[in-house]
Every structure is written in C-alpha cells, then in structure tokens.
Assembly symmetry: C2
Homo-oligomer: 475 residues x 2
C-alpha cells in the first residue's frame, strides 16, 4: 500500500500547480503577503500532525475571512491544486496533513468567539478557537461545553468538528456532533453555505451539519460554528479504584446502569499502563492492581456526594480495592494525574507509538483487552491499553523502535489484527481519531463496499476536482 502507518524520513515536497508563481501571487493577493508562507523551512511544520510523518506543503496560507477561503478554493479549482485545512494540527490520523502536496490552509487567524448566549444556550465561534479557550469563555458565564478531547488545549474547534472529536466526558455527554447546531462552510468549489442554525431542533432539508461533522476536511472548510451549551454543573467528583483483573473492573459498569447512574467519565488503565506510570512517577498504586478505574460524576453538590457513594458501593461489590475519593478539585486533578502521566510514561517502551482508538460495545472491553494482550505477546510488541471503558473506546498503544523496521512491521501487523478483533467483537476501527490517510488502508475492514461507494459518490459530487484534502479516507 502506498500510504503507510509509520514515520518515514521527511518526504520530498510534492509539486503541484500550487508552486506556480501565478498561483502564489494570487494567493498572496487573497490573504496578504504576510499571511502566505512558501519558504521550505517555514512550511515544514505544517506538513505533519501527531503521527509525525512529514508531508511538506508547497505553501501555507492564513486567511482571515470566509470570503478569502472561498477565493482560495475557487483558485484551487481553476489551477487544480490540493487544499488541506489545518486546525491545531494534533490529530492522530493525518487529517490535516497535505499528503498530495498543495496548500495548507491554517485557520489560526480565525480565532474569535463571536457571541455567547446564556439565554439561548449557544456560542458562536470561529474555527481557530482552541477547545480550551472556548470552554474557559463559556464557563465564565456559568455555561458548559462538554466535549473534551485530550488534545483540548491545542486542538481547534474547527478540527474537533471536522473529526467529530470525542473525549473523556462523552460517556454522559456524547461527542462533538451532539453540540454542533449550525455551521458556516465553504464547499470544495468555493460556495459558502450555512447549515443548521441556532436551535437544537431543525429538520429543514438533509442534515448537512452532520455530514460536515466528521468529514475530515474533505467536504468543506468550516468557517464558523454555532455550538450548543448546557448549564455548568455545580459539582464534580471522582473515585479511583484498583482491581485484580480488568474483567472484574469492567464487570462493574452495568452495575452503574442498574443504579441509574450515568458517569461523566469512566476510564480504565491496564496492567502495563499501571506499571508504566508507577515505575516512572511512583504514585503509590498497589502492586496487586492489574486494572485501575477512574469514575467521575457531576451534578449538584448533594447529588454528586450521593452518586459517588453509589459508585463506591458498586465498585467495592465488584472487587475493587484501594478506593480513593477526591473531595476537592485539587484532589480530583491528582487522581486524573495518573491518566495524564500515561503519555510520558510509556515513551520509554518505544520511540514509535502506534496509538489506535478502536471501539467495541462496552461489555466487550475485557475481551478486547485480553485479545490485544495476546496479540502483543504473539508479535512480541509491548502494548499499553487504556481509555474510555464507559463507551467501549479503548486506546491501544503498540510501542516499538522507530529505527527497527522488523519491529515496526510486527507492530503494524498487530494493529491490523487489533482492528479485526474490534470488528469481530461488534465494534469498529476508530471511535475518535478518524481515518485520514493512516487508517485508509483498513476502511474496507469496517465498511461494506456499497457504503464506501456511497461516500465516494458524495465526495465526487461535492468536490468533482478532488481539491479538498485528497489522499484521505479512501485508498
């Protein structure tokens, strides 16, 4: 397969009509000379995301307005060069990476929060606002924007929508799509449309808002989003518990439903995760723990206390030990530190991390993790599993040495088998990260040919010249 899964040495910069001096002059005229980068050294950082494979663009533009983006896409259709929109550039599947060269369109300058309406519970923001900045701004008004991908401090709202980002709180609150009321979008041929609106009910025509959400920048460039807000919960609380087996830990999950509790977040860490964080940071986790669970709830102060007691009861009944309840925000943060410590802690197990985000029905999480551990042993690849057990979305991290092609190849086979297992267990190959170019070779494992054909037809009819983010999703 042409695209692969792993770090390559920097690729030769693709050459398209975007490098023509006429095109560059036009781009400069549209965005202003100071907002166009062409110097190879300056464009290089815009050629990669968290996958860290490099596909340098020919030029990078930073438009300020929707009209400028429309003009860029019209030019791209005339001169036939690829345009790839880029938000924070922290995705895990290469969605923002110009694999076929052309122009990267950075939304960094479109970073205004235009309006917060406490009365009508929405916020209007440009795509370049970080998720964190948006959350802070609405929380200052007593409001709440729940989606919280772990990249929230760096990721842009535009990217979150384009990838339909998930997050830790999605067990209770759902994913980004559930908060997008309306969009302004520049279509691939440059037309500007408004989808949806400011209301949570809207059934006028086909759901273009939903179609653009999660379309990975292939069907349009988001230039404004109207997002639904909730009242900010009064209190949150977290319990951490250790278990002797992952199966025991996960068996508690239906117990919460039985008690009519829907946790905000419900995370697990497997044995290798625990060993990794413990050996690096010495949190004092029990050496007997082979699974760790973090459960967060929210509500009023009284309700939160009451729900935490129910959670603790269910956990104890299910075999939990070393229960710790956070009683303040600081204590809560400290419990979550274990989860946050994972990324740095597992680095020592390999210079290349294949970070997958398979999802299965939540009751199958223990099966998934057992199967993944078996795959890791069979391919002699260290694997760390952690993530969102409450919605079945587990981050499977195969660790290997970037410079060892044989190890990389084994890890790559392990990933492919993991995808097959996730599908066999009733799940799929991506819960949060999307397809991009990284998972494109595996799309046909998850979707039937008629579904893929339908998606290609939609892409073709909206983007007949294949201008917008080519080389993604489909091989």
């Amino acid at each position: 397969m042409a695209m692969n899964h792993f770090l390559q040495s920097p690729r030769v910069r693709a050459r398209t009509s975007a490098s023509d001096s006429g095109v560059l002059s036009s781009l400069s005229a549209i965005v202003g000379e100071e907002h166009l980068l062409v110097d190879p050294e300056r464009v290089e950082p815009y050629g990669q995301d968290a996958v860290k494979e490099k596909f340098p663009p020919e030029a990078v533009v930073f438009p300020r307005t929707t009209a400028e983006i429309s003009a860029i896409l019209r030019l791209a259709n005339e001169a036939r060069f690829p345009v790839t929109a880029r938000g924070g550039g922290v995705g895990y599947t290469g969605g923002a990476v110009p694999v076929e060269g052309g122009v990267v369109l950075g939304t960094d300058r479109m970073n205004q929060i235009k309006r917060i309406s406490p009365d009508d519970l929405y916020v209007v923001a440009e795509p370049g606002v970080t998720t964190y900045a948006l959350q802070q701004a609405v929380e200052n008004e007593g409001l709440f924007y729940p989606p919280d991908p772990s990249s929230y401090k760096a990721s842009f709202i535009g990217g979150n929508i384009a990838e339909n980002a998930g997050g830790i709180r999605s067990v209770k609150y759902g994913v980004t799509r559930n908060y997008v009321l309306g969009l302004q979008v520049v279509l691939p041929r440059g037309e500007i449309i408004r989808t949806g609106g400011r209301t949570s009910k809207n059934v006028v025509g086909f759901d273009l808002t939903g179609l653009v959400c999660g379309s990975e920048g292939m069907l349009g460039i988001i230039t404004e989003a109207t997002l639904r807000l909730l009242p900010l919960p009064e209190a949150t609380g977290t319990v951490r518990a250790a278990f002797k087996t992952m199966r025991e830990a996960c068996a508690c999950i239906p117990g919460f439903t039985g008690e009519r509790v829907t946790p905000v977040a419900l995370e697990v860490l497997d044995r290798n995760s625990i060993n990794a964080v413990e050996s690096m940071f010495a949190f004092g986790l029990s050496p007997e723990a082979t699974a760790l669970m973090l459960v967060s709830v929210d509500g009023t102060v009284e309700e939160t206390e009451r729900t935490l007691s129910i959670v603790e009861r269910v956990l104890r009944y299910g075999g939990a030990f070393d229960l710790v309840r956070a009683r303040t925000k600081v204590e809560e943060d400290r419990l979550w530190d274990v989860r946050r410590a994972l990324s740095p802690a597992i680095k020592r197990y390999g210079t290349l991390k294949l970070n997958e985000d398979v999802v299965v029905p939540r009751s199958r999480v223990p099966d998934l993790i057992e199967r993944v551990e078996e795959i890791g042993r069979r391919f002699n690849t260290f694997v760390v599993n952690f993530g969102h057990a409450g919605d079945g979305n587990i981050h499977v991290n195969y660790m290997c040495d970037r410079e060892d092609p044989e190890a990389v190849s084994r890890a790559r086979e392990a990933v492919k088998e993991t995808f097959a297992v996730a599908i066999e267990l009733g799940g799929t190959i991506s819960g949060e990260h999307g397809i991009g170019y990284v998972k494109a070779p595996y799309l046909d494992m998850a979707l039937d040919p008629a579904s893929i054909d339908t998606m290609k037809r939609i892409k073709q009819t909206l983007d007949p010249n294949n201008i917008l983010n080519p080389g993604k999703m489909f091989t």
Copy 2:
C-alpha cells in the same frame, strides 16, 4: 406552485409503470400475493397522512425482509416507478404520501424488536415497531428511550428516524438523531448497507447514519435501527403554572439555566389554547391566565423533589400563579391532560388546521407568539400557539373552514408570513415535522441556494432515477 398546503378533493390516481401487469406480478412474486394491495379502495388509505390530502398509490406492498425491499427497489429502477416508504402514516408534511403515484412500501410487517442489551445500552428494532411499543419494551428492562413525538402511539421508529422526530422531552434529551447508533438501509438503487454500529463513538467515514436520519425517505429505506438507551430515571415530576402574559412566562426560562436546571420538558400554551381547552373541558384554569406553562423534571426521588422546588421558586419569582405540583404519576398525567386536550379542543375553531412547527431561539418565543397573534388578526384567522418553549419549537395552528376557499387562502398567507417571522427571529420553518411536499414551496426561504443545490446533488448521486419518494423537499 404545484403542490399546495391544503386538503383537496381526492386526486386522480397517478399512472406509472407500477400499474403494468408485469410489474405487479413481479411485486407479487417478491412479497407474496397476500402482501400486495391493488384494489383502489384498499390502497386509498395509504395515500394520505395527518395532512389528510389524498394521493392514492397504484399499489401497496408489505415486505417482510431487507432482501425483499432491495428487490423492490431494483425492480423500480428497471421499470422506473416511484416507491414511497410508509411507517405509521401520521406525519404532518406528507413524507409518506405518494404524490407522484407508484408503490407505497409499508413497513408494518417489519415490527420485531430483535434485541435489547441492558449491558451495552442499545436496542435493535425493525422499522415497523411503534415508538410506544419500543419504549414499553425497554422500560420493562429498566431502560429509557427518550424521544417522544406526540404521535408516539401510532408512529413507527422507521418514520421517526426518517423524519428525525422531536418530542416533548427533547429539551433535556434531544431528538431522535441523538439516539440512532446504526442503521441498515436499502439505498435507492437497491444496495443494502450498514451505517454506524452499536457504539456511541464511531468516526469511520462520512456520517451516513446522520444523513439518512431526517432524509424523509428520499435517500434510503431503513430496515433496521440500533438505538441508544439510557438508564430509566427513578422519578419524574411536573409543575403547572399560570401567567398573566406569555412574555412573563418565557422570561422564566433562563432562570432555570441560572439555577443549573435543565427541565425534561418545558411547554407553553397561549391564551387561545387556554380558552379552547377551558371552554370545552372546564379544567378550572384561572380566567386571568393568558399563558400556561408545564415544566417536567426527572432524576432520583430526592433530586426530583428538590428540582421541582427550584422550578416553583423560579416560576413564582417570575410572576406565576395557580401553581400545581403533581405528586404522583396520576397527578402528573392529569396536568398533562390540559396539553393533550388541545387537539380535540381546537377542532371547533375550524375544519382545517394548518399545523406548523416553526422553531426560534427560545428567548424569541414571546416575540414569535406576539407576531403570530398579529398575523392572525391581520388575516382574520383564528390561531392557537402552544408547544415546546424550552427549545423554541412552537406549534402554530391556523384554523379555518376547509370549504371556504377565501379563508383557506388567508390562512395560507398567514403561514407564509409566519415562516418569514421565524426566520427573521433567527429560527427556521420546521423543528420537527420536516418538509415533505407541504413545506417544499418554502424551502428556499430557509436555505441558501448553494445548500439546496448540495442536497439535490446528494439526492441525484444516490438516486439517479429519482425512484425514492419523488416530489418531496424540492420543488
């Protein structure tokens, strides 16, 4: 405009290739003779919905399987006749009505609930299950399917999904789309696809699940749905309150947000609604009440009690009087009787009800209702406003005499002005009912030409022969 808004005398049955004897034999071979209707008297009931305009189909088929539906659509593409899927047939915009003749495909026999998973919180159902039957089945397992269109006893899940139905509980719980995890769909040309899956996180490819939801039977026929469930709340409670003005009533709504309360339901009735139900049923509502509000909440028993007290405090502070709190299910039902009595009560004001479902940002509801009352006076048409104030989705009912063409014409102008007002106030022309053929002439008031063009392109690429539910959405 060709399609119009109001009852006509029964139309002449359209004649397409569906009436050819060869086609009828093939249909009979596919579904079995006993599941094919052609007798004009027997097909007639399948030519209308709640709009009560008649467009008799040439034949009605009741397939049992996805494969049969696929065969029917392949035949329709060969012979070029229209196919219109029909669920409960209780829509308000003619979505299930064969305006261009052809075959009506009734999903009545596909009425099995295939699986309820309490562990993984989903239900798998065929499209012909009524919303009510589905709710009962999952509630028996302690689970909860929140969407509750008022037609829930008659409407089918397939129709709910095709129309992305809303309901009373959508203030807190959202609309049908928010509960659809995955679908099996027969595409217009007969291919069978599976979209989504059994997990709430799934970002593999474009969101075809979302595209089919609310597509009004124009992009595919739903043959199976996997729907997300929640734990059933322990308790619910309702408060009813009277106000001297609608503005006062609606001014309370942000007060709930301020107290961090998201009601399950938040309904209002205007002056004419109150007079109508009171004069027919004598509920004993205060003669001083010109607006009535019903607020429901849910949660644990303690939480519900506590939240109801907050709701009452906010309402009293906002000028409410005659507060009644339901303390039991029976009392709660009695409070909601006022809302349920509306439909029968307003019948005396006209033999034709133009039931619209405009939506505005919720803070604009009082403006909307004042403007609608002014429109009603100006066009000398009795108008009743009630509905979902909590999400800005108001049912505006213009009443007139079916047999009085001049009165019908005035009511029709009033509707058009109402749509313009809803859009001017930041809303749109349909929150729940969809477009169908009834609102098709007004689509361009709500959407920009490039959006409509995009929708038409999607329709064209998936249904090149325009087989599936032609004559809807676009004029």
